[in-house]
Symmetry: C2
Subunit: 218 residues, 2 copies
């Protein structure tokens, strides 16, 4: 049986290892989970014993096959519940994260599948993040980061790659919502910030923000 704390570690490791093979450092996990490095080492030993991760002392951890499967299941549940909260219960996209953090740990395969069907097998959550299917496969994405677009090019907002509340609220204040049209007017060299238009109204955003906005070009 996998515990709630263990699930959170698996999720953190998945999030930190973009390429699911490469290993993640103890400190990175500690920062992600807002805990101490020594606690992380302790927990890594436990999940190593359960063969959920591969671990080389001082060299970091990576998800095993079964650990990756578990982690993807949690992400799937998190994102499906977010869709439920927004599309059925009328929550705003910046209000759902904390509740989904709880709901993602509910254990029932039948519930997840029924929820998926009820929601119409959505491919993306309200932040534009892809939802893995029952077999753990992610839908292919055709989006780019706004920071990667050339001057003069444009597209539509299809997601964010970070979903903390203050970031989402900042986006709201700029009228940057899912589906909004964005064009890159100017790229400022010395700090990589951007002059853009959002639905034809101009704005100035930092590279930090641009890096976390996912854009689909026509």
């Amino acid at each position: 049986m996998i515990t709630l704390a263990e699930e959170n570690y698996l999720k953190a490791i998945l999030k930190l290892s973009k390429n699911s093979e490469d290993s993640v450092s103890t400190n990175a996990i500690a920062e992600e989970l807002d805990t101490k490095a020594s606690s992380v080492t302790d927990m890594i030993k436990k999940i190593t014993d359960k063969q959920l991760v591969d671990y080389v002392p001082y060299r970091g951890v990576s998800l095993s096959k079964s650990g990756l499967k578990k982690a993807i299941e949690i992400v799937r549940k998190h994102r499906l519940w977010e869709v439920f909260l927004v599309t059925k219960l009328q929550f705003k996209w910046d209000e759902v994260h904390d509740i989904a953090e709880q709901l993602e740990h509910i254990k029932s395969q039948k519930l997840v599948d029924a929820l998926d069907a009820y929601l119409g097998y959505p491919q993306h959550d309200p932040h534009g993040e892809p939802i893995p299917n029952k077999d753990g496969q992610f839908p292919k994405s055709f989006s780019k980061r706004l920071s990667e677009l050339e001057k003069g090019s444009s597209g539509q907002v299809v997601g964010v790659s970070q979903d903390n509340q203050s970031f989402l609220q900042y986006l709201n204040s700029l009228n940057i919502t899912l589906g909004a049209s964005i064009s890159v007017i100017q790229k400022i060299d010395f700090d990589d910030s951007l002059e853009i238009t959002i639905n034809n109204k101009s704005a100035h955003i930092s590279n930090d923000v641009a890096r976390n906005l996912l854009i689909k070009q026509k």
Copy 2:
């Protein structure tokens, strides 16, 4: 902050104290939660310190005002999630208990209220149990136990007062469902069992079963 274990103790105490004033014994709680009496004593001390219960050593516990409020909130959440699972996700009434046991601990007042509204403010769960409203008030019930009906009288099934899976499955096998019409044909004196008809088909049920079936007469 109230922990998951504490919530389960409050719920058990509420369930065991029909009249919410009278006190509940240590052993009764241990049996209800399938744990040891010594563990119960330990936990009672913790929730006493938090003023969730009133406790007199060797004399049992009763819910305090705030403890009762908490316990009713948990029951409300449990029953609303059961309604969700049955009416929206097409679960059977005998499949929802274990999942609702998990969902009842999700913490978000906004979620509970939004769910309540989404479900149309239901007054009863799929087992016929009353759902307390936002203020903790239970809807009035006009049902009687089948075991209390006179020979010759009849009514409709509106609920059960026990919801373990094997009981509900037994009811299913007898075609006793919510809304089914039941008439009392004969009461057998020596064991208090009953000859009844269910939607005009005859059956014989024990007093044990009859005591747990809630009937509404016209």
